[in-house]
Symmetry: C2
Subunit: 335 residues, 2 copies
Amino acid sequence: MVTVHDVARAAGVSISTVSRALASPERVAAPTRERVTAAARELGYRPNRAASGLRAGRTGALGLVVPDLANPYFAAVAKGAQARARERGLGLFVVDTEEDPRLEVESVSGLAPQTDGLVLCSPRAVDRSVEALGRRPVVLVNHHVAGLTSVVVDHATGMLRALEHLRALGHRRVAYVGGPERSWSDARRREGLAAAAERLDDVEVVELGAFRPQVSGGRAAADLVVATGATAVVAFNDLVAVGLVERLRARGLDVPADLSVVGCDDAYVAELVTPPLTTLRSDLADVGRVAVDRLSALVGAPPAAGGPETEEARAVELVVRSSTAPPRSTGPSSP
Amino acid sequence: MVTVHDVARAAGVSISTVSRALASPERVAAPTRERVTAAARELGYRPNRAASGLRAGRTGALGLVVPDLANPYFAAVAKGAQARARERGLGLFVVDTEEDPRLEVESVSGLAPQTDGLVLCSPRAVDRSVEALGRRPVVLVNHHVAGLTSVVVDHATGMLRALEHLRALGHRRVAYVGGPERSWSDARRREGLAAAAERLDDVEVVELGAFRPQVSGGRAAADLVVATGATAVVAFNDLVAVGLVERLRARGLDVPADLSVVGCDDAYVAELVTPPLTTLRSDLADVGRVAVDRLSALVGAPPAAGGPETEEARAVELVVRSSTAPPRSTGPSSP
DNA sequence: GTGAAAGCGCTAACAA
DNA sequence: TTGTTAGCGCTTTCAC
């Protein structure tokens, strides 16, 4: 391994000059700087982050904690977070907690000392995790805790867009198939739905839930949806929507003729299934990037400095495909 | 942050005793050990890996380099790798190279000094990446370079299983829709197919390719497949299979009645699309786990010690769903 | 503008 | 069995 000493010797300077030339070039005379950078390049010098961090009190690495990497939702967030971390010259430890709150807490406490800060994505045990962090900066994704920075998707507006769309098609009674009991996103969606229903006062929303955020959850919910008499349904995510469609068809109902279905997330399954799903797209990679940006800011200016606990809601876009249509009996212009 | 000094003070011993009590408990008297562990637990002591690594010459972290984290294939590998790394008490840096060879090389050279070794998954620029590694241990996934340890999926046997299945259904002419030009897996599949065709000598294989490993690649390949006169087709992966089905249907052909389709990987889309795909399942999480195991072994016993460059082919399983059936004209028992 | 030297948290000789 | 001490590679005062 090439060290500062090797570079220093090659450039004929001291190790402190090497360090300075590389870290704060303006504090070193131009010709010296040249020699140092040339020597570093030639030798293929790569600063050892562990060592520099040890001294500087920073590790040069961030941590990302997600419940399930195999879930395309979190994979997308991870991808964005990773890209931004790389751009910023930071390493990113990725941890998968397997949806297990205990593993989450354990991971956080193990990761915290090796990093400058963590991004907790859809945490399943926020309180204990935050406690395990010690005083390390943290950014929450799709969750919110007073006093902490968070990056969230604007679920409320998403629900409004979905309802507007369904209303324009002529739907007046819409079911919502909710996600896991303790999901923060689910709670936001329900709020958004209630607010939207109030605003669009001729639309009625029937809330169902809690269902597993999987295809199986959608299958389980389908019959309840039919029983509500709704002509359209909004699902917690695209997988649930797929499960709904599956079971509805098995009962001989057609999507969208008998029932319109709206998914959430625009996971890539959404356009592969039959019919392709109308869904609410959120830019998850962007969420990951923004989370890392916020975290970097916190790391730069320590949290004790009291950064404003920004809550930044990321935009959601309605993507219309073939799973939504006017209800059988009523067209948009024939009330 | 709690350091060895804090623990030492609390336990009334020296810092080296703390270090020893935690690292090699058998070298410390029982009562002392008790006091130390108790103090450590009470204070919430977490060893600083950067520091210990600095001294020991190891970082306690591994790196995983994948072309695209959002691809469920690599996400699954990453999940498995992460799980095993955690079990082994190692951190895992995850890097997404965005399918860009230059980014890959750059990532490897940046990551190598911060880690004890790397897993390179489906590398797009093996040679330069391996060079960038310096002397750091490496494990290749789905690739092979003489002298290096690799973990690969047994594509050849997979192809044999697929062909046996199709042959049993009565198919005699099978097309293969290949993946990217420089894909190592694609080359193995073609070899496997050729060997299987030789063995099952009444089955003929028509190779097509290179196509993008996406839905679009399948769409692009469909018309060529039809032109070959094959009654069944094996696709590079499930996404390609989905694209094939899409385009075939658009042309008025039925799957599986007119053409049977076999995918690869058993990505979770496979069972969501219509018809659900017959596919070759490989346990990607297992691949990730095994890769980390192999890498840990290399890190423990340095590569210079000349570990045997194991090539471990992971089993593939045929999963039969509805996209394969006997050809229209010929049943299995009516030759 | 540059160098010498101290020390980040930890481990591993070496002493005691 | 335990403590003392010398660094790992780097940054950062503090002199010069």
